[in-house]
């Protein structure tokens, strides 16, 4: 019975780990019985029609919205905050609407029950302290609307129509957002569970006292029941009971029953992006970057799940969830955040329509011609309606607005931006030593070696398998002595074992998540029976953070960093391989309310632990698999367990672009694919692609063949080495981009439209991408691709970074991409800093000189920036950095500190400057500290490349180089 119950999850468990205690034989037996299914068993995960609330919300389609407000209820809470009452006319339930004006063209709409019978969940720790801006409200009694004018952004107006309720937001009189214009707003109010049998004595205190209300509720129910035609027989008696729609009070999926003690509490809202045909975001899905219409198919799902061998072209949920969406057209970019931590489904309906939304507007828009529009229907299982509207107007504005709200990306230590070597598993200290030596022997740089779960004593995190790793400190020091780092995996499931100090301590303190009956929740994960920390409690997070000091985490050093895996959380025998929704967390909330927050809470606590061990001096590094709104503040993420297939290599680009647009700057995909064995061509192409993605780590499943680069023929080893070296050469550029992300939220890896917002042909492009403003990268994701067709936007031309060949633009060009090359082009008008002396690891490149690559635009100009600091402390917060603005115009290249008060002393100097697209000069002079020196140069007339030799100036100085 037990085995049958857990059969599907069991098989996953077994397929992922051949090392689990006692399961080895079982695994073999099972696998002999079972057919090997190669892809995800989609049946393990819910479709919308298997999720009661998704069905109820999706089927809620009234002709007219039952929600109304009235002007009389308008009240000013403060200068930036107004409130209104809203009533559901079908059941007379009362709600409160709050409208807030925030700094930087941002509005917040919140709708909650006026007097819920219990508190509704509101997401904590997610929204930063943001400033408010003044707002005035002008009621218009004639047409029953209220116009809100923002103080700082007078172009922006919000208009609330009263009956039925809707909200329209305008920028320069053009409609941008429209809320409830599709009448899909639907808040299931909290209610008492109906008593099952009407025959019982009617002495319950919970009897609704208002007969009108009861009637209204019945009305609502009847309407909904029309859509629920399939359950007539048993429900017949209670048809009139509004509290007893299918799945409201209990729901069963596969073998798991969700008891739903609070009953229905889902929320739904439609938000239209008016005048937009393209929306992006809401990761994580293995799908295209531009969101597709979900009409007639599955909605996008946001519910952090550990999906085994996930499928491509799917809207199914994956490891992370960020309910943030960006709308973009050739004039404007806007953002919308749906603040919710519960399971969420999102329907996207793109239409060209001038009737629906715009037809009823108040003269702001004379909708004659068809206007594209994306209608988005947000459906969450619980919580309150809490929506942030960001009015842009360009892509960088939206990223700034979004990261003001949710936090800017962390500043990674330099080494974390380099190449990482991982595998499940480097087996023992000898293995680590051999792999480390292999990189040196083959002169391939790397900065960090990773240890997966097998390094522990029986999957007890914070411990070591002392047989295989008898001296972990010595092992870490051997790597760290050369400037390298190590990462160990630390997961949130804790092996049930009273001899295990982490378990014992957490158990004594009552820090584990408990079942409904108060007993400790136990689920299966890597160690077998596991307990799960209740990270929603601050004291649990503090305790977790205290585990990272070397005195407590035995065998760790300050050069050891952390990887948080399985933090969706993954529960092998749980519903959908995760935790039961009706489990109660410490503060009284059910798991359903907080599910998507669990992973980020682990990463946040781990970061806190790393900060504590260096008294806040050293920058932490924590990689997480699960993610949520604000993950960017804490560290990096990766796209989980992908597969060694060309399709997965291709999918890494749109997936990482979507993640980047939702604020997470540091993201990557396992190089080579986690499952299966890549052939050497695929692996080479994967390295070439990933060298231009923010987080660059090779990783592989335990059942795959070893893949260290030197295990392949020299030809492939050399290509892989070249790809990794390209990454190291570009570290100054990447590091500058990470600093810029940290300051203003701009993703280092970004879609073409981000840089060319008016070029409509880029809006769907997700097979190529930008790195910063300067580099366009189009990876090869098909075998035997000798030539790649590349679309080059903009009017300033592009230079191939390897051949210096110039391509005028906009244009689609064919670029030769033999096995040792992918299309990487530098945009005319940009300056890219590199370090051409690639060492064993980044720490050893600190003093090395820079080369500037200046791609001159047809107008004869170029701009760029260079950021430098010590690479590992928080000194940069105290002005210990150099941030140089680089500008080429009128034949003079100028480097000038953006902030003259900031300075970090460095020996690094300027080795050469390569100008692309210039004429042969007669003379070149450099000016530093008022002194003028002539410089040597060489010129290639075929490519029009000028190389200025050895200016020699310290990079932190201000200087200029004049070309005559």
């Amino acid at each position: 019975m037990f085995v049958l119950d857990y059969f599907p999850t069991m098989s996953i468990y077994i397929k992922q780990s051949k090392r689990c205690l006692g399961f080895q034989l079982l695994a073999i037996v099972f696998l002999m019985i079972m057919d090997e299914t190669e892809a995800v068993d989609a049946g393990n995960f819910k479709r919308c029609d298997q999720s009661a609330f998704c069905q109820r919300q999706r089927n809620f389609k009234p002709e007219i919205s039952p929600y109304v407000t009235n002007i009389d209820s308008l009240r000013k809470i403060d200068n930036s905050h107004f409130a209104l009452d809203i009533t559901n006319t079908q059941n007379n339930k009362a709600f409160v609407l709050d409208l807030f004006a925030l700094e930087d063209s941002t509005l917040r709409l919140k709708i909650n029950e006026a007097q819920p019978i219990a508190e509704r969940y509101e997401v904590p720790n997610t929204i930063e302290d943001v400033k408010a801006q003044n707002m005035i409200a002008v009621p218009n009694l004639k047409n029953g609307s209220i116009v809100f004018h923002l103080g700082d952004n007078t172009n922006i107006q919000a208009v609330i129509s009263c009956s039925p309720f809707r909200l329209d937001i305008y920028d320069e009189k053009e409609p941008v957002f429209s809320v409830n214009s599709r009448n899909l707003m639907h808040i299931e109010h909290l209610r008492q569970k109906p008593v099952p049998k009407p025959h019982e004595e009617k002495t319950k205190p919970e009897e609704p006292e208002n007969p009108d209300e009861e009637q209204a509720e019945q009305g609502e129910n009847e309407e909904e029941d029309k859509q629920e035609e399939q359950e007539p027989q048993e429900e017949e008696k209670e048809e009139s009971d509004p509290d007893d729609q299918p799945g409201m009070w209990e729901e069963t999926f596969k073998t798991h029953t969700d008891s739903k003690p609070r009953g229905p509490e889902s929320i739904g809202l439609d938000t239209s992006f008016v005048n937009f045909a393209h929306v992006y975001g809401i990761p994580e899905h293995a799908d295209k970057m531009a969101l597709k219409s979900t009409v007639g198919s599955e909605p996008y799902r946001l519910y952090n799940l550990d999906v085994f061998e996930y499928e491509l072209d799917s809207r199914a949920a994956l490891y992370g969830s960020i309910p943030f969406m960006i709308g973009h057209n050739s004039k404007r970019t806007v953002g919308l955040l749906w603040l919710n931590a519960a399971e969420t489904w999102v329907d996207v309906d793109s239409t060209e329509d001038n009737k629906g939304v715009l037809g009823t507007l108040f003269g702001y828009f004379a909708g004659e011609e068809a206007v594209p529009e994306v209608n988005v229907h947000w459906m969450s299982e619980s919580g309150v309606i809490d929506v942030y509207f960001m009015l842009g107007r360009n892509p960088a504005d939206v990223m700034r607005q979004y990261t003001k709200l949710t936090g800017t990306p962390y500043m990674p230590p330099m080494w974390a931006t380099t190449y990482h070597q991982s595998r499940w598993n480097y087996k023992d200290e000898q293995d680590v030593k051999t792999v480390d030596a292999g990189f040196d022997e083959h002169d391939i740089p790397y900065d960090c070696l990773w240890l997966d779960i097998e390094h522990t004593d029986g999957k007890r995190y914070f411990t070591w398998d002392t047989l295989k790793f008898p001296d972990p400190v010595q092992m870490q020091n051997a790597l760290a002595a050369k400037g390298r780092k190590m990462v160990t995996i630390i997961d949130p499931h804790i092996k049930v074992d009273t001899n295990y100090h982490i378990y014992r301590e957490a158990q004594n303190k009552g820090y584990f998540i408990k079942n409904k009956d108060g007993s400790e929740f136990k689920g299966w994960c890597w160690p077998g029976d596991s307990a799960y920390l209740d990270l929603t409690l601050p004291e649990v997070r503090d305790w977790w953070a205290s585990q990272f000091v070397p005195e407590v985490y035995k065998g760790s050093t300050l050069n050891l960093f952390t990887w948080n895996d399985m933090n969706e959380p993954s529960v092998f025998n749980g519903p959908e391989i995760t935790m039961h929704k009706d489990i109660i967390h410490g503060a009284g909330w059910e798991h359903r309310h907080v599910h998507n927050l669990y992973g980020i809470l682990l990463q946040m606590s781990t970061v806190k632990g790393q900060l504590a061990r260096s008294q806040g001096n050293e920058r932490p590094f924590v990689l997480s698999r699960a993610f949520y709104i604000g993950t960017q503040k804490y560290g990096a993420i990766w796209t989980g367990d992908n597969t060694a297939e060309w399709g997965h290599l291709a999918a890494s680009v749109p997936m990482l672009l979507s993640i980047g647009l939702c604020g997470i700057a540091h993201s990557g995909a396992d190089v080579g694919g986690f499952f299966k064995n890549p052939d050497p061509e695929m692996l080479s192409r994967w390295y070439q692609a990933a060298a231009y993605q923010p987080f660059f780590r090779a990783h592989a499943h335990i059942d795959t063949s070893r893949r260290e680069p030197w295990l392949y023929d020299d030809k492939y080893r050399d290509i892989i080495r070249a790809a990794i070296r390209e990454r190291y050469e570009l570290l100054p550029y990447w590091y500058t981009l990470f600093f810029q992300a940290h300051k203003s939220g701009e993703p280092p890896m970004r879609p073409l439209w981000y840089e060319f917002p008016a070029d409509v042909s880029t809006f769907d492009k997700d097979d190529s991408h930008m790195v910063g403003t300067a580099l366009l990268v189009q990876p090869v994701s098909k075998p035997n691709t000798q030539v790649t067709s590349v679309y080059l936007p903009g009017a300033t031309g592009w230079f191939d970074v390897k051949t210096y060949q110039y391509y005028p633009s906009p244009n689609t060009v064919s670029i030769s991409t033999p096995l040792d090359k992918i299309a990487v082009l530098q945009r005319g008008g940009t300056i890219v800093p590199r370090k051409m002396r690639v060492r064993r690891c980044s720490a050893l490149m600190t003093h090395d000189p820079y080369t500037l690559f200046v791609a001159v635009s047809p107008q004869g100009t170029a701009v760029g920036q260079l950021y430098m600091d010590d690479g590992h402390t928080f000194g940069f917060q105290n002005l210990k950095y150099n941030y140089k603005n680089l500008l080429f115009q009128n034949n003079v290249l100028i480097s000038k500190s953006a902030n003259p008060d900031a300075s970090w002393d460095s020996d690094a100097w300027l080795e050469r400057v390569v100008f692309m697209g210039v004429s042969r000069p007669t003379k070149i002079e450099m000016t530093v500290d008022g002194q003028v020196h002539p410089l040597e140069f060489s010129y290639e007339s075929t490519t029009r490349v000028l190389t200025v030799r050895k200016p020699g100036v310290k990079m932190q100085k201000d200087w200029s180089i004049a070309i005559q």
Binding site: L31, R837, T846, E911, L935, E936
Partner: protein, 364 residues
């Protein structure tokens, strides 16, 4: 540390005056010999230039619009015999005012300025200004103008006492890679704020001279190699008649079929019977390899792949395979076993059978 100081110290800065004198004498002898050979070379080169009358191509690739930090030495312009002597003194020691580092002794003859003050890259198809040699800027496409710096991505630094090349990425990176510390001549140190830990086998600049240890180690290795190789004929004898039959060209691995070898790793006990079977014994017992196919050669090393498909099978349907990598050693001994990937076991195995012939060792 100043390079010149290091140089002095390396060249015999010892306290015993007798030793010092002796060292000076030897050095003087060496110089005389060296000067003579260089002079010969120089004359030959000049003669060749005169004879051919060829223009060095790529000349003036860089327009010399001004004097850089170091002026090209006068002597490079026209090699007057008087100056040539001075130059000769410095050849092998100094170029452009600093030591000519990273060049193998027998290559030093190429690091001579032409009459025009140029240097011909070792590839022979590019000529650069003589001042470009070891001036911390890469001019030769083959990296040969910067043997002593890290400027060329494809450069090589010759570590004289260890008699091998280092990639130029190791030069002046703050880590001592050559036992005499010559790769860290510039005194670059790893940023102290990184607080890199101390670890055996990794020495941070400023470097101390560990060549004595290195030499000892090499000598020890060499002696072991010799001793091991001297045992190889026994193995060949035992394998008489099995040459070329999957037991090595002379049947030297045949002897290993006669015995089984035990290795205790912390978690398991392995029993390896080369060419027959290999087992892993722990809580469970697995047949991890059967049969044996010898691959490789004496230069690159021999591997015995024990995976004829009769080993215990794995959950994914493949069969367990053991790969024994043989290295030359005095006795037949398993050094290390690890399951390097699922169901593939890597074994390091010392045996005289894997040794090169004694004669080839003695030649080195």
């Amino acid at each position: 540390m100043e390079p010149s100081q290091r140089h002095v110290r390396l060249m015999g800065g010892r306290s015993n005056p007798f030793q010092t004198l002796f060292a000076l004498f030897i050095t003087a002898l060496f110089f005389m010999f060296f000067q003579a050979s260089i002079l010969k070379n120089l004359q030959r080169q000049q003669q060749m230039l005169i004879n051919s009358g060829s223009e060095v191509h790529n000349k003036g690739k860089y327009s010399h619009l001004g004097q850089m930090a170091v002026a090209p030495p006068e002597i490079a312009r026209s090699v007057h015999p008087k100056f040539a002597q001075k130059l000769m003194k410095e050849i092998g020691m100094k170029v452009n005012g600093t030591l000519l580092r990273g060049v193998k002794k027998e290559h030093r003859k190429y690091y001579v300025p032409s009459k025009e003050g140029t240097f011909t890259c070792l590839s022979g198809n590019q000529t650069v200004a003589w001042i470009s040699v070891n001036n911390d800027y890469c001019d030769c496409a083959d990296g040969s103008d910067e043997p002593g710096t890290s400027a060329c991505h494809n450069g090589k630094f010759y570590c004289e006492p260890e008699r091998h090349f280092l990639p130029s990425s190791r030069v002046n990176d703050g880590i001592c890679d050559c036992c005499d510390g010559s790769d860290e001549w510039k005194g670059v140190t790893v940023p102290p704020d990184l607080e890199l830990p101390v670890s055996e086998g990794v020495q941070l600049a400023p470097c101390s001279d560990t060549c004595r240890d290195y030499d000892h180690m090499k000598l020890r290795e060499h002696n072991i190699l010799k001793e091991a190789a001297s045992l190889k004929p026994l193995y060949i004898e035992k394998g008489l008649g099995h040459g070329g039959e999957n037991y090595g060209p002379n049947g030297e691995f045949y002897f290993l079929t006669k015995k089984c070898y035990v290795f205790k790793s912390p978690g398991y006990m392995y029993e390896l019977c080369p060419y027959a079977n290999a087992t892993q014994n722990g809580k469970d017992s697995w047949l991890i390899g059967t049969g044996g196919k010898l691959e490789g050669n004496v230069e690159d090393g021999y591997n015995l792949v024990m995976g004829d498909g009769k080993g215990d099978h794995c959950p994914q349907g493949k069969k367990r395979t053991t790969i024994i990598a043989f290295t030359c050693g005095v006795e037949d001994k398993v050094k290390y076993v690890s399951e390097k990937e699922t169901c593939v076991y890597g074994v390091k195995f010392d045996t005289p059978a894997a040794c090169p012939d004694l004669e080839t060792i003695e030649l080195t």
